[in-house]
Symmetry: D2
C-alpha cells in the first residue's frame, strides 16, 4: 500500500466555510509557525511521534517524518464567511490571539478575504450576515460554491484541495427522505427543500469537485446516505462530526479510565460557560439540541450499559452550555461525576477545565486537513473512521457502533498509519520480552 | 496454550501481610458478595467484560466466564498483622465500611485472626505493634513465615495459595549488593543485613514455598535480582509495586489523554489529604520518599520528554501527601495541571477527587490474587508485566521501560488473556468494515 | 423595653404549611435534641453567643440565656401538606436523615399528621396532591385554615402560635391592584382572584388570628401592602422571604468581603445541582423565575454599582438550577467569580459547596419561629427587618433598600437584641482600649 | 477632633524596605494611575465609599473626599533593597505587570534606585544580596538608615514621610529580654544581639525619626514593648503585621460567615502554590514557621472555640505553602473545609482562588501609607488597631485579643473615620425606619 501513496507535491489549498475564531486561530498559527514565531502545539501531525516495532527498538519517529504529509510551506488558505472581515480583522475581533502575535503576520492574513457565504437564517437564528450569496435555488448556490472552488484552485495554483467546515452549529434536523440517495438530494437542491442545510450544500459541492470534506460541527451535513454514496463514487474521503475539544475531550479521556477499572457511575453533570460567537449561537435551544445530541452519545458507547447494567444502567447524564460573556473564548467547563466502587460505596470527581476553545480546535483543523489530503492520495475514499480521534460524534459505516474511547481511537489512527506504511501493528502483548529474559538468566 | 492451563479446582488461600483497612475491606467485601449482600464493583475479574473478535460480532463475555479463575466460593483468607485484632475488629476500627454491612458477616470475619507479623521499627517509625514474631535472625523469621504458610494450607485444605502484600509503606532504600543474587540475599538473611526489609522476608518465604507474590506497596520487596531469579527458578509469578488508586490512577488516565493530543504540560501539582493509618505512616519523610519515588515516575514514562522536549521538557512535577485526620479513610486529592496548546497558549485543569482509599484498593487485591493464581496455573513464572494495569510503579524486566499509560496496560492485560485463550489479538485497525461497505453499496 | 417583654410561658405551637424535607428535618431534629440524641448545630438561638460590653469584659452569654425564648421542651408542631404522609413517613421519604436517627423518635413523629392543604395547581405545576381542601372560594379556604389554627391551639393547649411557610416555590407573579389594601384583598378572596396564591391565604389566616408569619419561600405572600397593613393593625410580626441557605448564603458572605476590599467583579456564574422535590418544582421555568428574582437581587444591593460603576458596573450575573436526581437533597453549588484588582488585573475564585439543603434550612425554621414569637411578646409588629439575616430577599419597609450583606444583617440582629434588653450597642470603635494604654505606660 | 487634623500639605515620601514584586507593583501602579493609564482597583482610599447617616439619606462619599488624605500627585517613592536593580528593572523581573504597562512610566521608575539594605543572612537563608550596608554594629546600621531617611527627605523636599515594610519574611523568633524596653533594645543594637532582626532596625530608625511604620510581613519587628513604648513617646503611629491577601483574606471573609450561622467546623485544610521570591523564601522551614504562626491564629479568634467547644473544639487546621515555579507570582490557593450542620450532618466547601499575590498586596501598601500618614496628622500615636483590616495578624494593645473578622475590622475602620470626622457611628439597628412606617400608615 505504501508504494501506491501519491507524494505530496505542489500546493495544498485548505478551504474553510466559517472564518471565525477557530479558523482564524488556525490560519494565523500556521503563518506564525512558518515564520518561526510560535510552536504548533496540540497538532499530532506536527509534533507527535509514533512508536514502531518493539519497545526495545526505540523507534519513535515524528509522524510527519513517517507518513508523506503536505509541508506547512506548501499550504494556502481560503474560505467563506457571512461577514466581510478579512482574516486579520476576524482574528482581532475573535480576541483569541494577542495583537503582538498577529502583528508580524498581518500582511499574510489581510490577503485572505472571505468569499460570499451560503447562509440560511432558519438554521442559525442568532447570527446575521451581510456577505451572503443570493440565488434562486439551493442547487444554484451549490454551483456557485463549485465555481468558487475552481477559481480558488486556479488563482492559487493548487495541485490539491481539502475542505474543513468551521462554521456554526445549525439547528437540529434528522435524516429524511431527501437525504436517502443522490437523486432525491439533487431534486431537493433544485426544490429548495428546507431539510437541506447550508453545510450540506458545501459538502455536496466539495464532493462533486473531488475535494475531501471534514465536518467540524455537529450538523448532519455529510452523514447522510446521499453524500456517503457520492463520496465513494467520486473517490473522495469524508468524515465528521464535531471537533472533540474541551469537556467532551476530557470525558472521552476519563470515562474509559473509569470503565477500565469497572467503577460504576450514577451521574455525570457537565456544565460550560463561554462567551464567544459559538456560545451565542448555542443559546438558541434549537441549535443547542444539535450539540447536545452530539455530546450525549459519548458515554453510552464507552460504558456499554447493556453489558454492565449494575454499573452504568442508571447513569443520569446532563449537559448544560451557558452563554457567559465575561469569559469570551476562554471556555470553562465544570464536571461533577458521581461514581461508586467496591460494594457500591459512592465517591465523587470534580473537574474544572479552564480551556480556550479555539486554541484546542485550531490544531485539529490542521491535522484533519493534512490527514484527509493523505487519505485522498492513499486512495482511501468514503468515511474515514480512523480519524474519529478528532470528533465528538464520529461518522461510521451505517450500522457500525462508533468508538468514542479516545485511546482506542488513537490506536486505530496509529495502527492505520502503520498499516498503510507497511509496519507491524502494535498489540501491547509484550510477552516476548520475558521469554528473552528467561533465556538470558 | 489454552489447553495447558490447569483448572481452578479446590480451595484457593489468599494470604495477606497487613490486615488493615485495605485487606479487611476486601475480605469483608468478598464475604458480603458471597452472601448476595453487595456487588464487587471495581473488580475487573468479577464485573468486567472483554471484547472478542470483530466489533460486529458482538462478543463481550464476562472475563470470569472467559478465563478459568477461582470462584469466590472457593476462597479462604489468612494473614499477618502487628496488631492482634481479628478481621472483624480491624474492619470496625478502619471505619471504611458501615456496621450495617459488617454485622451479617461478623462470624466469618471474626474467625480470621492475624498470625504474628515480621516487623522492624527502623522501617516504619510511626507504627508500634504487639503481635510480632521474635527470632534471632531474619532467616529464622523467614522460616517462621514458611511454617505459617504450610500450617495455613493444611488447616484450610487449600489446593493453592497466593500472597498479596497489603502492609504499610516501608522507608526508602535502594538496591544494594545484598539484593544481587540469591546467595548474597540468603547470607544477608542470616546476618540480619539492615537492607533486608520485612516485606522482602515475606516475599522470599512465599517464593520458596511456590506461592505467587504481589506487592501492593511501593517497597522494593521482590523487585531485586535475587528474588526475580528465585521466582523464575521456582516457577512462581511475582509482581508489583504499589496499588494504583486515587490520584495516580487519575494521573495515568489523564496524562495519556493530554499526550495523545500533543498538548504541552508545564507543571503538575498534586496534593492529597487523608487521615487513616496510611496517612500517619506517610507523615514520616523517610516513608514518604518511598511513595514519592513510586508516584513521580509515572509522568516521565507516559510523556517521554526526551522525544518532545518542547512539550514536556520543562515539566515541574510536585506531589504532596498531608495527614489530615478529619477525613479518615476518605482520601481526597486535588491536582492543578498547567497545560499549553496551539502557539503555546496556557490552560489549566483542576481535578478534585473525593475518593475512598480502601474502596479503590480492595478490588485490586482480589483481582491480583485471582490473576496471579491464574498465571501460576498457566505456567507464567517470574515478573507478570501484563498485570501492570494494577500498579503505580510496575515491575518490568531489568532494563525494560515500564508502561504507565493505563490504556496500554489494559490492552496488554486484555490481549494477554486473548493470547492465552487462543483468541485473535485486537489492534483496532478496522479498515475491513469499510471494505465491506464499498462492496455492499 | 426589656421589662415590657412578655415571658415565654406555656406551650408554643409551630404551624408549618409544607411538611416536606425541610420541615420534617427540623421537627425530627428538635425531637432528637430534646432526647439528647443530637445537637442543634446551625441554630443561632440554641448554640450562638452574643458579646456584651467591651471586649475586655469577656461577656459572651448564649443568646438563649440572654433573651427570653421559648424552651424546646415547650414546643409542639403541626402543619398542612398536599400528601397524607405523617411526619415520620415524610422524613423517611425525604432521605435527609438516617433511619438510625429517626427510629428512636418515630412515635413523636408519627403523631404529627398533616391537615388538608390549600393547593392550586396553576401555581405549582410539577406537584400533585391528594390531601387538599375543597371550597367554593379562596375566602372559604382562608376560613378553613383559621379553623385549623383554632383547633390546633385548643387541642394542644398552646398559649402562643407562630407560622413558618416551608412549602414550595410558587410561580412568579407581581404585585397588582388586588394586593394594594385589605379591602381589595378580601374582595379578591371572595372572587377567587387568580393573583391570590395559596401562600397568601395562609398568611392572611395567620395574621387574622394574630399568629406571626415567616415566609421561607421566594413567593410574594405577605410582602404586599394589604397584608403589611393588616399585620400592623393586628399587632402581628411578619417577614420573609426565602430561607438563605447554600449558594446565596455563600454569596452574601463572599460579596461583602470582595466589596470591603474594593475588588472589582466582572462576572459571577452560579450553578446548582439538586435532586429533591424542590429541584423538581424549580425545573418549571415559571417557578424558577420566582427563585431567580429572589437570588439575583443580592449582589446589586451589596455592591452598589451606582456608587462604583468602574468596579461593578459591568457585572454579568447568571444563576442556574439543574434538577439532578443522583444527588437527592444533597444540593451542590459551583460558583465562578471573575474579579479584578490593582490596575484591572483579572483573578478568579471558584467555590464548590457540597451542602445539604434541608440541613441548612432546618435550624433557620426553628430560629425564625423562636424569634418571631419573641417579637410578638416584645410588641414588635409588622415587618421584622432585624431578621433579614435569615432571608435571601428580605422584606423591608416600602421604599427602603434591603441589606443583603450577612454581616450587616448579623449586627442588626445582635444590636436589636442588645437594644431590647437594654445593653449598649456595639460599634467596634474601640479607641478607648488605646487611651487606657497611653495612660498606663 | 476633626478640627485638629493637620492638612495634607506638601509632599509625602513613602519609604519601602524591600523593593520587590509587591513594592514595584504598587509604585508602578501609582505612576500609571497618575497618568490616567490604569485604575487603582483594590484601594479603599482611592475607590471606596463610606455611608454616612441613615440609610435613607443616601450619603455615600468617596473616602478620599471625606477624610483629608495625601493626593497621589504629592507622593514620592524611595526604598532599600539587597539587589541593585532600579524599580523599572525590578518590576520587569517580577513579571507581575505587562511590559506594555511599564513602558510609558519607565522614566519615573528608573529614577528610583534602591539604597543599600540592612541584611542578615541568618534571617533569610534563601536570599543573597549584593547591595548591603556594612557596619560594625547593628546600632551603626540603624544610624545609617536614619541618615538615609534624612537625605531622602531633604533631596525630595518632603514635608512628611511614612515607611511600609515590603521585605521578605524573616525566620521565626520569639519575644525575649532584649525586646522588653528601649534601654535593653539599644544595648542589644550596640552588642549585635542576634535576636534583633533587620526589620527591627528599620522600625527603630523610622520611629526615632518620627516616621510612621507599617509592617507588611509576619516578622516580630515593631510588635515588641521596646518599640511600642518608643512609638508612644515619639508620637509615631505603628502597626502590623503581614498584609492580609489571598488565602487568609478568604479565610477571614468565610469563617465569620460560617460562625454567624453557628455552623460547626471539623477541619480546614489550606494549601498554596506560588513561584515567586516569596515562595522561595518560604521554602525554608524557619521562615515558613513565621508565616504559619501568623496564618494559624486567624480561625481561633474568629470562632472562639472556648465559647462553642461543640462546634469548634475539635477543629483541625493545617496550612501548607508549596514553591511551584510554573505559577510565578500567580499564587493559587485551594481550601477544603469540613463543616457540619443541623444534628451534626457533614458538608464540605472547596475554594480555589486563582489570585495574584502582588496585585492583591499593592493597594494595601498604598492605603496603609495614606492612612498612617493621616493617623500621624490626627495625633493618633502608637498601635493603630483600627487598621487591622489590612493585616493577617493585627498588632493590638498588649493583652487585648485581636479581631480577625474582616467585617468587624471594616466597621472598626469606618467608624474610626466617622469618629474623627465627627459623624454618627453606625450600628445597623435601624428600628426607626419602622417607627416612621407605623406613623405613616
Amino acid at each position: 500500500m505504501k508504494e501506491q501513496i501519491e507524494q505530496a507535491n505542489g500546493k495544498l489549498g485548505i478551504l474553510i466555510p466559517g472564518l471565525g475564531a477557530v479558523a482564524t486561530t488556525m490560519i494565523a498559527g500556521v503563518e506564525a509557525v512558518k515564520k518561526g514565531l510560535a510552536q504548533p502545539v496540540g497538532s499530532l501531525t506536527q509534533t507527535g511521534n509514533i512508536r514502531l516495532g518493539k519497545r526495545t527498538e526505540n523507534r519513535y519517529p515524528k509522524i510527519k517524518d513517517f507518513v508523506p504529509l503536505a509541508d506547512l510551506n506548501d499550504i494556502v488558505f481560503g474560505g467563506w464567511d457571512v461577514y466581510t472581515d478579512n482574516v486579520y480583522e476576524a482574528a482581532v475581533n475573535a480576541k483569541v490571539l494577542e495583537l503582538g502575535l498577529l502583528q508580524p503576520i498581518k500582511p499574510e492574513l489581510e490577503k485572505i478575504k472571505p468569499m460570499k457565504a451560503v447562509f440560511d437564517k432558519t438554521y442559525i437564528r442568532n447570527l446575521d450576515g451581510t456577505n451572503i450569496k443570493e440565488a434562486a435555488t439551493k442547487f444554484d448556490l451549490a454551483l456557485a460554491v463549485m465555481e468558487d472552488i475552481d477559481n480558488f484552485k486556479n488563482e492559487n495554483g493548487c495541485s490539491r484541495l481539502v475542505m474543513v467546515w468551521c462554521g456554526s452549529t445549525e439547528k437540529y434536523i434528522e435524516e429524511a427522505d431527501v437525504h436517502q440517495n443522490i437523486y432525491a438530494f439533487e431534486d431537493g437542491l433544485r426544490n429548495n427543500d428546507p431539510l437541506i442545510s447550508p453545510s450540506m450544500i458545501y459538502a455536496y459541492a466539495a464532493i462533486k469537485k473531488g475535494v475531501p470534506f471534514a465536518n467540524g460541527a455537529p450538523n448532519l451535513t455529510c452523514d447522510i446516505p446521499a453524500l456517503i454514496e457520492l463520496a465513494k463514487e467520486n473517490g473522495v474521503p469524508i468524515g465528521g462530526k464535531d471537533f472533540k475539544t474541551g469537556q467532551t475531550l476530557m470525558k472521552t479521556i476519563l470515562a474509559p479510565g473509569l470503565h477500565a477499572r469497572s467503577l460504576g457511575i450514577r451521574g455525570w453533570f457537565s456544565t460550560n460557560i463561554l462567551g464567544n460567537r459559538d456560545g451565542l449561537v448555542l443559546d438558541d435551544p434549537d441549535n443547542f439540541k444539535t450539540k447536545e445530541v452530539s455530546k450525549l452519545g459519548v458515554l453510552e458507547d464507552i460504558l456499554q450499559p447493556e453489558l454492565s447494567p449494575e454499573l452504568y444502567g442508571d447513569l443520569y447524564h446532563k449537559i448544560r452550555i451557558n452563554y457567559y460573556p465575561p469569559h469570551g473564548d476562554n471556555k470553562e467547563s465544570w464536571d461533577n461525576i458521581d461514581i461508586f466502587g467496591w460494594l457500591g460505596y459512592p465517591m465523587q470527581i470534580k473537574i474544572n477545565f479552564l480551556c480556550r476553545d479555539s486554541i484546542l480546535a485550531a490544531p485539529i483543523v490542521l491535522d484533519l486537513a493534512l490527514f484527509f489530503d493523505l487519505a485522498k492520495r492513499a486512495n482511501m475514499s468514503g468515511i474515514q473512521e480512523w480519524l474519529s480521534f478528532y470528533f465528538k460524534s464520529p461518522q461510521t459505516a451505517p450500522g457500525l457502533r462508533p468508538e468514542h474511547d479516545i485511546f482506542k481511537q488513537l490506536i486505530k489512527l496509529q495502527n492505520t498509519l502503520r498499516h498503510i506504511m507497511g509496519e507491524d501493528l502494535i498489540t501491547h502483548l509484550g510477552l516476548d520480552y520475558y521469554q528473552d529474559l528467561v533465556e538470558s538468566l
